[in-house]
Point group: C2
Chain length 241, copies 2
Amino acid sequence: MAKQTPKAPEKEPKKAPGVRARVRAELTAEIKAAATRQLAVDGAAGLSLRAIARELEMASSAIYRYFASREELLTALIIDAYTSLGDAVEAADAAHPREEFAPRFVSMAKALRSWAIDKPNEYALIYGSPIPGYAAPQDTVDSATRIPVALLTVMVEGRVKNSTASRTSSEDDSLAQALDGLMTFTGRTIPPGPLAIAVEAWAELFGLVSLESFGHFENAVTDPEAFFDHAVRTLADRVMG
Amino acid sequence: MAKQTPKAPEKEPKKAPGVRARVRAELTAEIKAAATRQLAVDGAAGLSLRAIARELEMASSAIYRYFASREELLTALIIDAYTSLGDAVEAADAAHPREEFAPRFVSMAKALRSWAIDKPNEYALIYGSPIPGYAAPQDTVDSATRIPVALLTVMVEGRVKNSTASRTSSEDDSLAQALDGLMTFTGRTIPPGPLAIAVEAWAELFGLVSLESFGHFENAVTDPEAFFDHAVRTLADRVMG
DNA sequence: AAACAAACAAGAGCAGTGCTCTTGCTTTTT
DNA sequence: AAAAAGCAAGAGCACTGCTCTTGTTTGTTT
């Protein structure tokens, strides 16, 4: 009669990397894989634990030993998506010499768009409507950070390198305040002017990709890729030219 | 035994504006109002026909006489949202003399942001993740068009007015092709250069609002309103200055 | 080797969902 | 007055996330 308290399953058995832990990890991965497959078809809203259980030929209740709730599964998928996108963007960055800032930025931007167009539902999962009542765990926030940080870093460094010494204006103070959270991100202090320009560019990049991916270019921007390439080049010129 | 075929309810009884049609319209409005109320709390995913029926103290099956499906109700809410936002933006536009393009644009942009921050779930409904499997009816597309058209119009007109005669470059041809769908929007032909700049600005505007509304400025942009105001001014300068 | 505890899979069941069909009643039109 | 159309409600289907209980398997500890 002892109440069994399944509760939230432990992530790590601490010590033993025994057989059991291995098959557990494998099944966890299989569940995530099936979920990702389903996500690509039906989107986040259509993600059904029971459907996953059916596909894996197990009882729906058994899934709860691996993910405490649907929400926790979604969190895992969100982190995976951020990681996948972050890897893609950083790989695109690494393909260019460090000091060629503009090509690095253009390459990263294109990688971002390609990923988004390739996996629209995963893109919507991380950059679309927030799920109401879903408080993003710190894990997701951490993995989210990579992408804007990588982009902003290139832009800011590219700008301060290529620009004449920036004189600080009176407006810079209020800007520095408004962007306070970002200032301390990379450790050292960033001049507010270039930071603001970089954030604006990040917003435009995000806007271009989201507008296209979410269907708002339909019947309007006939050739989204061509326009995107043009816009990104313009962007690079403006920020770092 | 005659099969009753409730099917999709007719929108208009064609002739009689009788008593029945009036109470029908009223109930339809009440359902939409309850839905909007629920939308503001739980978002689109949490919209439940049964909950609406409970709130209105009617049988859930009765709702199907007013909306053939949950999807149709959502469509009505989407159109309402576009209309509400469109009205807000156009009102902000109308508050300035026609020839003052930059102030008009800034005013519209701020109205857009205010509306989005005020009604995050309605904003997410129209500008967030598309609902998978939901083919947007033409009605929604039509009401969606207003907003970008209004913004692009101001920007393009403001630019061609304030700029020296634009010489057409070789790149303009490919741009014109990429933006073909937009060219024919306002009737007369638009120079591709300014059009591209305007679309880029629209993307940045959309990006700024969405990033903030969807929570991506958390712990980064400390004062989103101040930053937005700065960015919009910069934007206006760049496009029409 | 035996005993114990933890991990696990499965089934039944609850409360909720969108949606359909059928049954009766009311209102409008003929 | 009769026929037709509009309407509300109830029962029911198939689905969902999630919980609890039962019985089994596995890994560790005495």
